[in-house]
């Protein structure tokens, strides 16, 4: 087992296609989330808006390393980029935020509480940490069915969520069963307003890996190439039968906890420190340096994605909202004669 390994990004640099795909997902997500933020401020969204700003590299790196239709992916609060990379349509997001009845939750739940369980993407509940065992259970099922193959199941959470009992029970279960499970912890320095110092006492959360008997990798989440490479490596190891992998990516949350929060508790020094770098900027620079994209291409993408987002918003806004009178108000699928 290796702690804090950073596989050389050299291998990836050759894989221009892949890097472009990751960056595109990041960009799409950023543009989409910026739009959600504006809509929130304009009072167009009921409930909160939660952004993944600053976490796009690790999230999209994971989503792009997974194969939709085969792998499982349970995104959490700040995984718009991962969702997009995995293949979630933009409309799933805009419909859910805007309350369209045609969205995956049909207005029954909102914002990031959406998924497509039957397409390998379970829907999160708010209680942090509980999706680890769910993803592990999906893998366990496939193994029982004899169809596990080289499938991987991955999920994400934050530094704060590592303090939950569910995190512990879920990761231990995956480890005992030696499932092809990847857990990406994005340490964005804060859980809502609570800093790392009030949350855990080890030097780097990746030090937990050994105590679970799982692989551990730690990476600077603002470094696009390193991050994409490390997350990819974790997925590769899990796929290769090396058991569960814990990846810890270090970043700073570049937004409030939600758009209602100005995050004034984050000190200025931290914002201007290394971890306060925006992975989008780093990615752009790195990709340009590598010659994997041109500035014109990026500008083109930005335009295209803004247009796509605009359309997804417009469509969701035109769609019907849920109607209490036609709702079936059924919490179970069985029709019992009695209730």
């Amino acid at each position: 087992m290796q702690l804090a390994t950073q596989p050389k990004p050299a291998g990836l640099a050759g894989n221009t296609e892949f890097l472009r795909k990751v960056y595109q997902a990041m960009l799409r997500a950023r543009i989409l989330e910026n739009k959600m933020s504006s809509l929130y401020k304009a009072g167009k969204i009921v409930g909160g808006v939660y952004l993944g700003r600053g976490q796009e590299a690790v999230s999209a790196g994971l989503g792009a390393s997974l194969v939709k239709g085969k792998d499982f992916f349970a995104p959490l609060i700040r995984d718009q980029a991962g969702r997009t990379a995995f293949g979630e349509p933009l409309l799933d997001c805009t419909r859910t935020y805007l309350g369209s009845v045609l969205g995956p939750t049909r207005g029954r739940d909102g914002n990031v509480h959406r998924g497509r369980p039957k397409e390998g993407m379970p829907t999160m509940i708010s209680h942090l940490g509980v999706q680890l065992s769910v993803v592990a259970g999906m893998l366990f099922a496939k193994r029982l069915q004899g169809t596990l193959g080289d499938r991987v199941g991955a999920t994400c959470l934050g530094d704060g969520a590592t303090s939950t009992g569910s995190f512990h029970e879920g990761l231990n279960f995956a480890a005992v069963e030696r499932l092809p499970f990847v857990l990406v912890v994005t340490n964005n320095q804060y859980a809502y307003s609570t800093p790392n110092t009030s949350q855990f006492a080890c030097a780097d959360l990746v030090e937990k890996a050994r105590g679970y008997g799982v692989g551990g990798l730690s990476v600077d989440g603002t470094d696009f190439l390193a991050t994409v490479s490390v997350v990819g490596e974790a997925v590769r190891r899990a796929r290769a039968g090396e058991g569960p992998q814990l990846v810890v990516a270090h970043v700073l949350r570049l937004s409030g906890h939600g758009e209602h929060d100005d995050a004034s508790y984050v000190p200025q020094e931290m914002r201007s420190s290394h971890c306060g770098r925006d992975c989008m900027d780093v990615a752009r620079t790195q990709l340009l340096e590598l010659g994997a994209v041109t500035a014109d291409e990026i500008a083109g993408w930005e335009e295209q994605y803004a247009e796509e987002v605009q359309q997804a918003v417009a469509q969701a806004q035109q769609e019907p909202q849920p109607d209490p009178d036609t709702e079936d108000w059924m919490a179970v699928s069985t029709h019992f004669p009695a209730r």
Partner: protein, 321 residues
């Protein structure tokens, strides 16, 4: 040959494993050991890999069942004692219970809860949690009282596309015997007349059905014919059968083994008075356990738990009201 209540549970699981490749069982000490109560004895040998031991992680056990169900399995989770499901409470009510409503994807998991009091089990190995789970939308809560129901309702529960809380009563495990498991097989959601009568209706479930039937027998000599309705499931709750009985008798006593605030007895009484107020010739009554944790000492326990004597004496009051 006689079959016990726990035999029936084992047999049901054997049949489920045999008939449906989607079924597997997961819980603490259930594989080679066969479970704390031997409900899975020998099954791990017969179905390798499909009866598996879990770490002491109730939260993860239920989370894993949810994941497995999404992928097409029909997991049965054995809690070692119902009381320990408190640790999985969140996964049960918020993850499993809301899944169908949130996503439209059914959630066919069954959680077996060894429930209820036995002498010397104390506050943390005796609880009856049916009322806690029945409060939450999205859960089906079964409370079998007979050997036949223990068998059929487990099979029928696992066949449901919804999360099932299967409350099996530890007191009945070895005490309750029947000639065979082939009793009347009613659908889930239908109550049963455990004993016909015409002077009063007792509504009970699980172990309390037997205490109630015995209390009713006690009163027979005195000329009273007390009807006992076995609810079989507290959610769904078959108000119709209860109302029909009350229509015949004019009197209602609801008996539950759980704590006295809320719970199944309150729900039964409230439904009956709302829809059958005119049927009642006397105020409806309730019996529950006392409002303390379940005591360990058998002398305290027998006074904490409703039993034949208390039910009989309460019925006496109700009958002459």
């Amino acid at each position: 040959m006689s079959v016990t209540y726990i035999d029936a549970i084992r047999e049901a699981q054997l049949k489920l494993l045999q008939d449906d490749p989607r079924v597997f069982i997961y819980g603490q000490d259930i594989s080679t050991f066969g479970g704390a109560f031997k409900a899975t004895k020998g099954l791990a040998d017969l179905f390798p890999g499909r009866v598996a031991d879990s770490p002491i992680s109730e939260d993860a056990m239920v989370g894993m069942a949810v994941g497995a169900a999404i992928e097409g399995m029909r997991p049965i989770i054995e809690m070692q004692f119902a009381d320990f499901s408190s640790v999985a409470f969140n996964q049960i009510v918020n993850q499993a219970g809301t899944h169908y409503y949130r996503t439209g994807v059914p959630m066919p998991i069954t959680i077996r809860m060894p429930s209820g009091g036995t002498a010397g089990s104390g506050p943390f190995h005796s609880q009856s949690m049916e009322g806690v789970y029945a409060q939450y939308p999205g859960l089906v809560v079964l409370t079998p009282a007979t050997v036949s129901d223990a068998y059929h309702m487990l099979i029928d529960g696992v066949a449901l596309d919804d999360p099932v809380i299967y409350c099996e009563h530890k007191y009945l495990y070895r005490w309750l015997k029947a000639e065979s498991m082939a009793g009347e097989r009613l659908p889930i959601g239908k109550a049963r007349i455990a004993r016909p009568g015409r002077h009063a209706t007792v509504v009970a479930y699980s172990a309390m059905v037997h205490e109630s039937v015995r209390a009713a027998e006690d009163l027979r000599n005195e000329g009273w014919e007390v009807e006992v309705v076995d609810l079989r499931s507290v959610k769904p709750l078959d108000t119709e059968t209860v109302l029909e009985s009350v229509a015949r008798t004019g009197r209602l006593l609801a008996v539950g083994e759980s704590f006295p605030w809320g719970g199944a007895t309150a729900e039964v009484v409230s439904r009956v008075v709302q829809d059958g107020f005119h049927l009642l010739d006397a105020p409806p009554m309730r019996i529950n356990a006392r409002d303390t944790p379940v005591p360990y000492h058998p002398k305290l326990w027998s006074a904490h738990r409703p039993g034949q004597d208390l039910i009989r004496e309460t019925l006496r009051q109700l009958l002459v009201y």
